[in-house]
């Protein structure tokens, strides 16, 4: 029931879906309340988010800074475009690694699904090339492909 799906649409979209046991209000809050975001939007084990700016209003800024406490750090910036409380969020974001990644335009929907929520995230990359790059590294078929490839290099 909680399994995540990830598929492509057209030339530039990536669609992610995930079911949650909580109602849309709670899932939406967990995406817009900095105190809640800092508890889960952390990436790999051992990382924390000391800086979490999330101005949940149209034009509001997003800035997340992560650290692993051992000198590793990176950050993300973004801007909110539209918000429909408990239903839908539209924002744009890019990561700095340290060079900025291409802008990712993301529409996130929170639909009631029984007593839970079906969340659908629709990412739009700037062009087919950028998405092709994502697919080429095995995103479409899952990470197995990527791990197999890394093993092949060692």
């Amino acid at each position: 029931m909680t399994k995540m799906t990830l598929k492509t649409e057209g030339d530039t979209h990536i669609i992610v879906t995930r079911r949650f046991a909580a109602p849309p209000e709670a899932v939406y809050r967990a995406h817009t309340d900095p105190k809640l975001i800092q508890k889960w939007l952390l990436g790999p084990e051992g990382w924390t988010m000391p800086v979490c700016i999330n101005e949940a209003r149209p034009g509001g800024k997003i800035r997340y800074e992560w650290t692993n406490g051992k000198g590793g750090a990176f950050h993300l910036t973004g801007e909110y475009l539209e918000l429909e409380p408990y239903r839908r969020i539209v924002h744009v974001e890019r990561m700095y690694l340290p060079d900025p990644t291409p802008d990712n335009h993301i529409e996130t929907r929170f639909d009631a699904d029984g007593t839970g929520t079906l969340m659908t995230m629709r990412m739009t990359l700037p062009d087919a090339q950028t998405r092709a790059a994502m697919l080429a590294t095995g995103m479409e078929r899952g990470m197995e492909a990527s791990y197999v490839r890394l093993e092949g290099m060692i």
Binding site: T2, M4, L6, V16, R18, F20, A21, A22, A26, V27, R29, A30, L36, K39, W40, L41, L42, G43, P44, E45, M95, L97, D99, T101, P102, A128, Q129, T130, A132, A133, M134, A136, T137, G138, M139, G142, M143, S146, V148, R149, L150, G152, M153, I154
Partner: protein, 116 residues
Amino acid sequence: MSSTRLNLDAAFSALADPTRRAILARLAKGETTVLELAKPFDMTQPAISQHLKVLEDAGLIVRRVEGTKRPRRLAKAGIEALDQWLAMLRRTLEKNYDRLDEVLATIDRHKKGETR
């Protein structure tokens, strides 16, 4: 090993071509000569060499000199750097959502606690 410097833009452009993705997939299995790399494709060796140059310039593959041969292999640093942000998405999402499940369960418990 020749030095590799990943150029993200060049790497994305390089990966946008299906032949070059197929070449990378083949190289994932190990070092390969240009002749072997050209085999599965209906292409001349110069055409393959051109694709290899694009991949090399993008920091995704490296060459080695072995007599008259120039076998190619994946540039670990380049591929890893690309993977760092490309793979981050899926891996991070899965991990994050597992954690979010726990956060949501906590909120739910608090709520129930408050109404009692």
